[in-house]
């Protein structure tokens, strides 16, 4: 039987399927669908919504619209801020039976460091023993829907390396840099993140886009622009992962329009060790678990293991 377990830095994942940040509020899902989803999460690691230092309301509406093969959003990182997150959200995240990856987003290098330090200190106080096998950190340096910091950092290799290196100095656990695809050379940004000390690269965040309100003929979203996701962007995201794979030695968390087990195979072939499901979970909340099961059959049917499939798209036929 093929083994689906993978390592992501110090984390051991039972299978390669996780969620993209901001697409799954697991406790809200439990209220809607029942407690089984937190008792047996469909994801092998749970990635939180992006936490910011200060509370944020997010962007004015409308924030979301379905597009062909996906959706565009400009949510704008609403959230209660770090202090409330640490007090109320982190304790219950630590009760999940799978590793958790906390996504943080900031507007300057200092903010990312403050977020990481706050999380580290809180874990040190509340967790007995070594937490680094259970908790990772993802630097969201790629949100297209806030007007400074974040994606502005991830668009620049120098800034990316500086932020990652600054956090690396004080964060002992898994450190993931989540990249924006809205750059000319994503491999250069990936290399910078790895040089800065990232243990893994997540790619990609959403593609910056715009939709027009067909009555007013003005931009539909309250934020004017938004981020496009869903199957429509899958070939673009695959290309990003394909470009990153030879550029970095650290594992890649691939994502962008994953909806089927074949899509997962595509991402692993391009070089993703871990694959995240994003907005397709809005159609099917437990999608990641189903895809993990189907991935096993797909691998066995083709005679691949995860190791032999990884990056196979780069090898001559």
């Amino acid at each position: 039987m093929t083994d689906l377990a993978v390592r992501l830095g110090p984390l051991r994942l039972e299978h390669p399927l996780i969620n993209a940040s901001g697409t799954m509020e697991i406790f809200e899902l439990a209220e809607a669908l029942g407690p089984q989803i937190v008792e047996q999460p469909p994801v092998a690691a749970y990635v939180s919504k992006t936490v910011t230092l200060d509370p944020r309301l997010g962007n004015p509406g409308p924030r979301i619209l379905e597009t062909v093969g996906g959706l565009i959003n400009a949510i704008g990182l609403p959230g209660p801020g770090l202090a409330t997150f640490l007090e109320y959200e982190l304790p219950r995240l630590l009760m999940l039976p799978c590793p958790v990856i906390i996504s943080v987003g900031g507007f300057s290098t200092d903010e990312y460091v403050t977020l990481a330090r706050g999380l580290r200190d809180s874990l040190g106080r509340t967790v007995d023993g070594d937490w680094s096998e259970r908790v990772g950190l993802e630097l969201n340096i790629s949100c297209p829907n806030v007007h400074s910091g974040c994606a502005a950092i991830g668009a620049d290799p120098g800034e990316t390396e500086r932020v990652v290196a600054a956090v690396r100095k004080i964060w002992p656990g898994l450190l993931v840099a989540k990249l924006t695809p809205n750059v000319a050379d994503i491999a250069a940004v990936g290399r910078a993140a790895a040089t800065g000390g990232a243990d893994a690269i997540a790619a990609v965040n959403t593609y910056k886009g715009l939709v027009i309100d067909r009555e007013t003929l003005r931009p539909y979203l309250g934020n004017v622009t938004g981020g496009l996701s869903g199957p429509a962007i899958r070939p673009l995201a695959l290309r990003a992962v394909y470009d990153l794979f030879p550029a970095v030695e650290v594992p890649i968390i691939g994502m962008g329009g994953v909806a089927t087990a074949q899509d997962v195979v595509d991402f692993i072939s391009c070089g993703a060790t871990v694959v995240a499901v994003g907005c397709s979970v809005f159609r099917e909340p437990c999608l990641a678990g189903r895809l993990a099961g189907e991935l096993l059959s797909a691998l066995e049917a083709r005679g691949f293991s995860l190791e032999t499939l990884l990056g196979v798209a780069h090898a001559p036929l």
Binding site: A32, L71, V281, R283, G289
Partner: protein, 269 residues
């Protein structure tokens, strides 16, 4: 683990400009009136399901009243008997039936257009829970024209059935274009009938909801709960796409904290 379920259309009944879709949903958990489900035809040209209020239910047979306003709802309205669709639900926070039916005063249901959708179920749940106490319910419905007003039929059926359970229930319909009696709005009916102490369950267009709240605020001791509509992606509180700003400046997700909100939360004092 509960996830979306493949349902099957058992009936598609056109009601004027809308459609009442009856769906057999294996394993359906009973909804509270005001809750909704995400529905998506299978196969579908759309990416996401559409949030549709639960209109009635008997065991695994669930009714939805749908107005064809966009690609997703048009697709749902065209589903023939035997067709498949994905159902995720029931979702959200519905009407607090015990708060609506407290043992003094009266419950007033106010609905406009497709906003009538949750009320066959509410009338039935009030009859089942409070009919024996001879609770009093006044149903006021407003429609643009006589074609749209055919969507009143499911509520009319529920009102008729509720009498057998002891509910004292009365229904009035306003049609704005004057094609069925005087040209008037549902808020005109409300102005005529609203009494101090009434408790309201409201669902309809934003403009109507705001007008209802203005009428309420002129009468003493009225409480009102509003079922709101919003474009949703996940329907379960994950994406924050349907968030609205409440009167106190905080944000709330229509799908998770709602869709039913206390009037004071939405409109302030």
């Amino acid at each position: 683990m509960r996830d979306r379920t493949l349902g099957r259309v058992v009936a598609n009944e056109p009601l004027g400009s809308m459609v009442r879709l009856s769906v057999r949903v294996p394993g359906w958990r009973a909804a509270v009136a005001g809750q909704f489900a995400l529905l998506q035809a299978e196969p579908s040209r759309c990416f996401l399901g559409r949030a549709v209020s639960v209109s009635d239910q008997r065991g695994e047979r669930v009714c939805f009243l749908i107005a064809p306003v966009g690609d997703g709802t048009r697709e749902l309205c065209s589903l023939a008997q035997g067709s498949s669709l994905w159902v995720l639900g029931p979702l959200g926070r519905g009407f607090g039936i015990s708060a609506l039916a407290r043992n003094s005063g009266r419950t007033v249901i106010v609905a406009g257009g497709v906003g009538v959708a949750p009320f066959p179920l509410l009338v039935r749940q009030m009859a089942e829970g409070y009919g024996a106490l001879a609770a009093q319910v006044l149903v006021l419905l407003g429609f643009r024209d006589s074609v749209q007003s055919l969507a009143a039929d499911p509520v009319r059926e529920a009102v008729a059935a509720s009498e057998g359970l002891g509910l004292r229930c009365r229904l009035e319909v306003a049609v704005e274009d004057g094609s069925r009696g005087p040209a008037e709005k549902v808020t005109d009916l409300l102005e005529r009938h609203l009494m101090p102490g009434d408790r309201l369950a409201v669902c309809g267009p934003d403009v109507m909801a705001a007008a209802v709240w203005r009428v309420c605020s002129r009468t003493d001791g009225v409480q009102a709960w509003f079922s709101l509509e919003a474009k949703m992606a996940c329907g379960v509180g994950s994406c924050h796409g349907c968030a609205i700003e409440l009167a106190d400046g905080s944000a709330a997700r229509v799908c998770h904290e709602g869709p039913v909100f206390c009037g004071r939360e939405v409109f302030g004092d």
